[in-house]
């Protein structure tokens, strides 16, 4: 196990810089998830940690030792790839044993480690098969098994679940979580799926355009997003981001609904800003139910029943507002929907910089 440090790490392809001076400290045994949209630089960072990409400037250290000039094989890392990267001409056992063979590990020890990893991942019955004879989920397990047998200092996962269908993805996510709790290894996991990030991470690193937007625990990221980008990216469905203003000590939504703010927000009086409202924090009100909270009253535009709940898109003075309401409470577009807003569920962001206020 080891720590990983990135200090002012930059990466440019040709003249185009794609990672702009990233600083990140990963503790021993920590499971860190890099999350962000395509092209945000998360995979590039992972590949730089692996040694598969050179660093344009900055420093990467594993367990305190700077590894900038070390080959991938000398960094003591193991990587699980998006497309599994299993050698098609070798059996599952050979795939798992491959790197150990080149590291001079004795045959009995290789066998012991392969069998142990196979039993952890429940693939012991597949050891003689070739990768093409396996399902997607089984291949993914073998790819993880290949990493586990190495017993490396750091595990790297590059979008390992994105080639699986939705059902299998959920299943494998649980498996990885189980594995994570068992191994307690330092891990960097890259994904564009914020659900994976929320469920697996000790800490999440949200990235955009080669910059780190926020580093924090899943709860911190969810409860106090540092920027409007993080707010809009994390959460399913994403946070509603509406243009608004602060007037008379209240945040005023586009339809004129005023939400009283705590005194510390009054300093922004008169400023135009972005108001963030989580869909699941807007409480559905029956048509004539009384409430002492501020109420949004708007017509439904799209109704998407999911069984356990219903997603409704409202037209809030020309802006789309997504909300989750109890099942069968709203049935068709055109119905008016009343929502109570808890003042502590309001997030305010600067309209220009996107920073949290």
């Amino acid at each position: 196990m080891a720590t990983v440090s990135l200090r002012q790490v930059r990466k440019a392809f040709g003249g185009v810089e794609v990672v702009h001076g990233v600083d990140l400290e990963i503790a021993d045994g920590e499971f860190v998830v890099l999350v962000g949209p395509s092209g945000c630089g998360k995979s590039t960072i992972l590949r730089m940690v692996a040694g598969l990409e050179d660093i344009t400037s900055g420093e990467i250290a594993i367990d305190g030792a700077v590894v900038n000039e070390r080959d991938p094989k000398d960094r003591d890392i193991a990587m699980v790839f998006q497309d599994y990267a299993l050698y098609p001409h070798m059996s599952v056992a050979e795939n798992m044993a491959f790197s150990l063979r080149y590291r001079g590990v004795g045959k009995p020890e290789i066998r012991r480690r392969v069998e142990e990893a196979a039993s952890i991942l429940d693939i012991a019955h597949l050891l003689a098969r070739r990768p093409r004879e396996l399902s997607g989920g089984q291949r993914q397990r073998v790819a993880m098994g290949r990493a586990i047998v190495r017993d490396p200092k750091v595990f790297l996962f590059d979008e390992p679940l994105s080639n699986l269908d939705a059902k299998l993805r959920v299943q494998m996510r649980t498996e990885i979580k189980r594995l994570r709790d068992r191994l307690r290894a330092t891990t960097i996991y890259v994904t564009h799926d914020q659900v994976e990030a929320m469920t697996l991470a000790d800490r999440i690193v949200v990235m955009q355009g080669g910059h780190i937007q926020q580093v924090g625990t899943p709860e911190e990221i969810y409860d106090t997003p540092a920027t409007s980008f993080v707010a809009g990216f994390m959460g399913a469905p994403a946070m509603n981001l509406l243009p608004g203003a602060i007037a008379g000590g209240a945040a005023v939504l586009p339809d004129g609904t005023a939400i009283p703010l705590p005194p510390d927000a009054h300093g922004y009086e008169g400023e135009a800003l972005v108001i963030g409202l989580r869909p699941e924090r807007l409480g559905y009100l029956a048509p004539d139910a009384p409430t002492d909270r501020p109420v949004i009253d708007a017509p439904a535009v799209v109704v998407e029943p999911l069984g356990s709940e219903t997603l409704v898109t409202l037209d809030l003075a020309g802006h789309a507002l997504h909300v989750k309401v109890p099942p069968r409470s709203v049935r068709r577009p055109g119905e008016r929907v009343r929502l109570a807003i808890a003042p502590d569920s309001v997030h305010l962001f600067d309209r220009d910089t996107g920073r949290r206020l």
Binding site: R47, P72, K73, M79, D83, A85, Y87, R103
Partner: protein, 270 residues
């Protein structure tokens, strides 16, 4: 695939195959019958077939020696192509300065006919002291540009993540080629084997120039010499041709499935 009239399609294919195979059949038939090839009307089936022509060829000229020389030279050429072209092909899949220029140079070199390079090739061989040797015979055939590109296309079809994984697993570049890329490029290897074999086996001009004594000559030279020995020996001549052709056909048949895949890989996606 279009439907309907499968028998018509088959008939056309059988006809085309017959046109292609007829000359081979005619050579074989003449070799075992001594028939006059100008006889009219031509006879389709062999009359009194025998194998004396093959025996004549084996004993009348040093056929075993020519055969050995050809086998050695072709083996060298095949080994050279399989190994050297793989190294060059791998290099061309990587990024390096002036890669486009190198590709352009290689492609433009394909436009130069071998005959135009014979004099420099001879001078270089003389400098290296390999004139009139097996190595000298094989030297210009040890690598061929078109086969380098066949490897390149094949290596490029291997997912990049496999090479990354191999690198993390601790393999050197040499090992990556030997243990990851080559086992996944069997069609390209087969294509290299067949083409290198056929080109070296059939090579005439270069052996003619570089060999000084009969002991070093290869089968195509032997065939030419055989022609000058005898007159009116169509049967024996054709027997010689059959004996020269047979190894090439055998090599092709053994590797044909992989060969065809090798030639067409990269041509279509998926």
């Amino acid at each position: 695939m279009r439907r309907g009239f499968p028998w018509a399609r088959h008939a056309v294919l059988v006809l085309v195959s017959a046109v292609m195979l007829l000359p081979f059949y005619w050579v074989l038939k003449t070799a075992i019958t001594d028939e006059n090839i100008y006889a009219y009307p031509p006879r389709l089936t062999p009359l009194d077939p025998h194998l004396f022509n093959f025996v004549d060829v084996w004993y009348l000229i040093p056929f075993p020696r020519y055969l050995l020389n050809s086998v050695i030279v072709s083996a060298l050429a095949v080994a050279g192509n399989v190994v050297l072209n793989a190294l060059a092909g791998y290099a061309l899949t990587r990024h390096f300065p002036a890669k486009r220029l190198v590709l352009l140079l290689l492609l433009s070199c394909m436009l130069i006919p071998f005959q135009a390079t014979i004099i420099p090739a001879y001078l270089i061989s003389a400098r290296l002291g390999v004139l009139n040797t097996h190595l000298g015979l094989a030297l210009p055939l040890l690598s061929t540009i078109v086969c380098i590109f066949i490897y390149k296309a094949s290596f490029e079809a291997v997912p990049k993540s496999l090479i990354d994984a191999a690198r993390i697993d601790g393999l050197s570049e040499w090992r990556i080629i030997a243990t990851v890329l080559l086992p996944l490029s069997k069609p390209a290897i087969a294509t290299n084997v067949i083409l290198a074999f056929i080109w070296s086996w059939n090579s005439f001009m270069w052996p003619l120039i570089i060999t000084r004594d009969a002991e070093m000559q290869t089968l195509p030279l032997g065939l030419a010499r055989f022609l000058s020995y005898l007159e009116d020996t169509t049967g024996a001549l054709y027997a010689f041709v059959v004996m020269v052709l047979l190894p090439g056909i055998l090599v092709f048949l053994m590797a044909q499935k992989e060969f065809i895949r090798g030639l067409t890989s990269g041509a279509t996606k998926g």
